[in-house]
Symmetry: C2
Subunit: 410 residues, 2 copies
C-alpha cells in the first residue's frame, strides 16, 4: 500500500479550483428551463426597458413648467384633452396648458414630461385644478431608465435565479446559452453492500446508503445522476464497471467499501482511468480522511469513504464546488454561512480540520449551534443535524459561546 501525503482542506479546494472546468459545450435553452443553470454568455440588452416612458402613479400627464407655482391656495388650471388607455399609445400630443388622464403604467404622451398624482388635482368637467407643482421627470420612469439598449445586463458565469429570468424576459430574451447540467455517476463498492430495496438483510450485509444521499444531494444541486449500482471487491469487475460508467458521465463518484482491499482497489481503478490520475489521496479532516480525488482526461473522479456521515460531509465539502466548476460558475467571494455560538466545548487536534454536526437553537441572545454527537457510523444523527460547523486545522477546539459559522445541511 502506497502512502500519499494527506492534503489540507484549503489545498484540496485550491486543486479543485485550478484543475477543473466545463467539459461540454454550452446549450441553448428556453429561459423557463434554465433556472439554476450557469450562463455561458454575456447578456447585452437588445432593447430598452421600459420600452416607453411610463407613469408610476394614477394621475395626469402634464408639462412640469405648466404646474410651477401651483399650490392649495393658488391652483393651476389645465385643459383635459384626453384619457390614456393602458397598453396603448396616446392618441394625441400634449401641448402647453394641457393635461391627459393617465393610469399607473400608462404611456406618457409626447410633449408631457411628468405626472401630477390624482390626489393633488381636482377635475371639473374638462378643466383640471392642479394643487401641487411637479418637476420634470416626476412620477415617470423614462424609456431606458431601467435598462439601456446595448447595456451589459449579466455576465457569463452567473447562476440564473428566478429574478434573473425576469430580467431576461424584460429585455425580450426567450432563450439563453447555459452550461449543461453535469452528469454524475455513482458506483458503490464492497462485498457487504446490498441494494437499498433488499427487504431482509442477511447477517453482515448493509444497504447502499451513500448512493441515496449522494445522489439526492447531487440532484438537489442541479446535476443529473446515473446510479451505477454496486460492485463486488474484485479488481477486474470493479475496474470494468468504473470504466464503463466513467465514459457516460462528467463526474464519477466511487463510494468506497470500508475494507482495506477495496480502498486499494479504488486508487488503482482511479489511476487507470486516465491522466494525470490521483491528485488528492487523503485529506486532513475528521471525518472523511480517506477521501480521494483524481482527474482523468479532464473529468473528476472522487472516492468517498464508506461511512454515510463521512461520505455526505466530504461530498458537500468537495464535490459541490467541483460541480460548480464543471458548470463554469464564477467563484463566490462572500461567506454565506450562518453565524451562531457553539453551545459547548468541542476539542479538536491541530493539523486537522474537524466537521461536527449541529442542530440550531434560537435563544434570547441569538442563534446557538448545539453539537449532535454519535459514533461516526451513526446515520440517525443526521436526522437531528441541521448544519455542519468547521473547526479549523490550527485550532485545538472551540470553546462554549465561541462564534462559529454553520454550513446548512438543507
Amino acid at each position: 500500500m502506497k502512502f500519499f501525503k494527506v492534503k489540507t482542506v484549503s489545498e484540496s479546494l485550491s486543486i479543485i479550483a485550478d484543475q477543473f472546468r466545463p467539459l461540454r459545450p454550452p446549450v441553448q435553452l428556453p429561459i423557463a428551463d434554465a433556472c439554476g443553470m450557469v450562463l455561458a454568455e454575456d447578456i447585452v440588452s437588445g432593447e430598452q426597458v421600459p420600452h416607453f416612458s411610463r407613469s408610476t402613479v394614477d394621475g395626469f400627464a402634464v408639462r412640469a413648467r405648466d404646474t410651477y407655482g401651483a399650490s392649495d391656495s393658488l391652483p393651476g388650471f389645465l385643459d383635459i384633452t384626453g384619457r390614456i388607455e393602458m397598453g396603448k399609445a396616446p392618441e394625441q400630443l400634449l401641448k402647453e396648458g394641457q393635461a391627459q388622464a393617465i393610469p399607473t403604467g400608462g404611456m406618457l404622451p409626447e410633449g408631457a414630461d411628468s405626472v401630477v398624482m390624482i390626489e393633488h388635482v381636482e377635475e371639473i368637467d374638462d378643466l383640471l385644478n392642479v394643487y401641487r407643482q411637479v418637476a420634470p421627470g416626476e412620477n415617470v420612469i423614462r424609456a431606458g431608465d431601467d435598462v439601456q439598449q446595448g447595456e451589459l445586463v449579466m455576465t457569463a458565469g452567473h447562476r440564473l435565479r428566478p429574478q434573473d429570468l425576469g430580467v431576461l424576459s424584460a429585455i425580450g430574451r426567450t432563450e439563453v446559452r447555459v452550461f449543461p447540467r453535469p452528469i454524475v455517476g455513482i458506483l458503490s463498492t464492497g462485498d457487504e453492500v446490498v441494494p437499498t430495496d433488499k427487504k431482509q438483510l442477511a447477517p453482515g450485509e448493509v444497504r447502499d446508503i451513500n448512493s441515496v444521499t449522494v445522489g439526492a444531494t447531487a440532484q438537489q444541486y442541479g446535476a443529473k445522476v446515473i446510479q451505477g449500482g454496486i460492485v463486488r471487491d474484485d479488481y477486474e469487475t470493479f475496474a470494468a464497471r468504473a470504466r464503463q460508467l466513467f465514459e457516460e458521465v462528467d463526474f464519477l463518484i466511487l463510494s468506497g467499501g470500508s475494507s482495506v482491499g477495496t480502498r486499494d482497489f479504488t486508487v488503482q481503478v482511479m489511476q487507470a482511468l486516465g491522466e494525470p490520475g490521483v491528485l488528492i489521496h487523503g485529506v486532513a479532516t475528521k471525518p472523511g480522511k480517506p477521501t480521494i480525488l483524481a482527474k482523468a482526461n479532464g473529468k473528476p473522479v472522487m472516492g468517498l469513504p464508506g461511512h454515510p456521515v463521512s461520505a455526505l460531509i466530504m461530498f458537500r465539502l468537495f464535490a459541490l464546488p467541483l460541480l460548480d466548476k464543471l458548470q463554469g460558475l464564477r467563484p463566490c467571494e462572500t461567506d454565506t454561512r450562518l453565524s451562531a455560538k457553539i453551545s459547548r466545548n468541542v476539542p479538536s487536534a491541530v493539523g486537522r480540520t474537524d466537521y461536527i454536526r449541529v442542530k440550531l437553537e434560537e435563544r434570547a441572545d441569538g442563534l446557538w449551534a448545539v453539537p449532535v454527537f454519535g459514533k461516526s457510523g451513526l446515520i440517525s444523527t443526521l436526522v437531528e443535524s441541521e448544519g455542519i460547523v468547521e473547526i479549523g486545522q490550527n485550532k485545538e477546539g472551540i470553546i462554549e459561546g465561541e462564534a462559529v459559522k454553520v454550513y446548512m445541511l438543507s
Copy 2:
C-alpha cells in the same frame, strides 16, 4: 372602492399560519422521488441499525477480558481461529483465548465483544500477540446502536433532505407517505401586459415578467406551476378565467395589472371564488402594499402587485410560508437569515415594514449588506441584489454599521 385596514407583516403571517393546511391527501412515493417533500407519517423503524454488531476498525475480534493487562512489555497471546469476510456471517463462535481477523464493517462473531486494532497486535502464524487491552464494546458498533427496532426516527411535518432519505434507506424503507407538491396557478392581468415571447413591443406594452419570476420561484420551492396566461381588464373575462384556473390548482396567484380598474376587479374576483373571501387587503410594507390574500373553500388566492420587484418580494414573504402550510411543514423556530452589517443609513417610516435589496460584500471585519437602490419599477436592480433586508415597522430606519439579517434571494 371599499377600504380595508392594512395588516402588518406579523398579522399577515399569523393569518397564513392559522388559516391554511394541506388540502390533498398524502401520497405514497419511492424515496428517491420524495426529496424536498414533507413527511405525512411518523417513521418508526421496523428493524435495528446496524443489523448486526460491526467492527469500526481493521483488527481482531476478541473477548475483552482476554486482553486485560496486555501491554507492549507484557503482551497477551490468543489463538487465531478464523478470518471474517465482509458481508458474511462468521463461520464459527469465538471462545475464550481466541481471536478472529475482522475488517472494518465486518460482523462480530458470537462470543466476541470487542476488536483490537491491527496496529496493536502482531500475527505470528496462528498466534496473535496483543499489545493493548480493550474494553467490552471497544471498536464495535453493536446491533441497534444506531436505530432500535420500534424507534421513532422522524415525525410527520419534516421536510425530507438527502440525509433523511439515507436514514430511511438504512431502516429498509423504500417508499414513504408525503404531502403532494402543491399546484400553483398564475394568472396575469392588465391591458398593457403581453406574453414574454412577444418580440416587438407596441408602444404602451410590457412583457409579463411576474409569471416568469413567480413561476420559477414556486418551482424552485417544490410546487408545480400552471401558467394561466394573461387576461384583459374586463371583469367577466377575468372572473371566468380565474374561476377555471382556481378549480385546477391548490393556490391561485393573480398578478395584478397596476391600474385602478384592475385592482378593483382583483378583489371582486377573489371574493367571488368562495368563502370566507378576502382576509388581507393591503399590508403595511414598502414595497408591496397592495398585496391581497383571500381564502376560498380552503384554498389560498393571492393578489400580487404588478411591479416585478414588489411582486417577487411579496411572493417570497407570504407565498412561500403559504406553500409550507399547504405541504404540512412543521413551523421552523430558528431564524436562518444571514447576519451582516448595513453599509449606509437607510431611512424608513414607523408603522411600515420596509424591504430593501442588498448585495453582500466580504470585508476584513465580516459580511456587509450594501443597499441596491433604484425606483421600485426597476427590475435590473434584481440582478445585482443577493438578498433582502427588513426594516421593522417600529424603526425609523437603520444606521450605517447596524447589524441586520439578510434573507437570501437565491
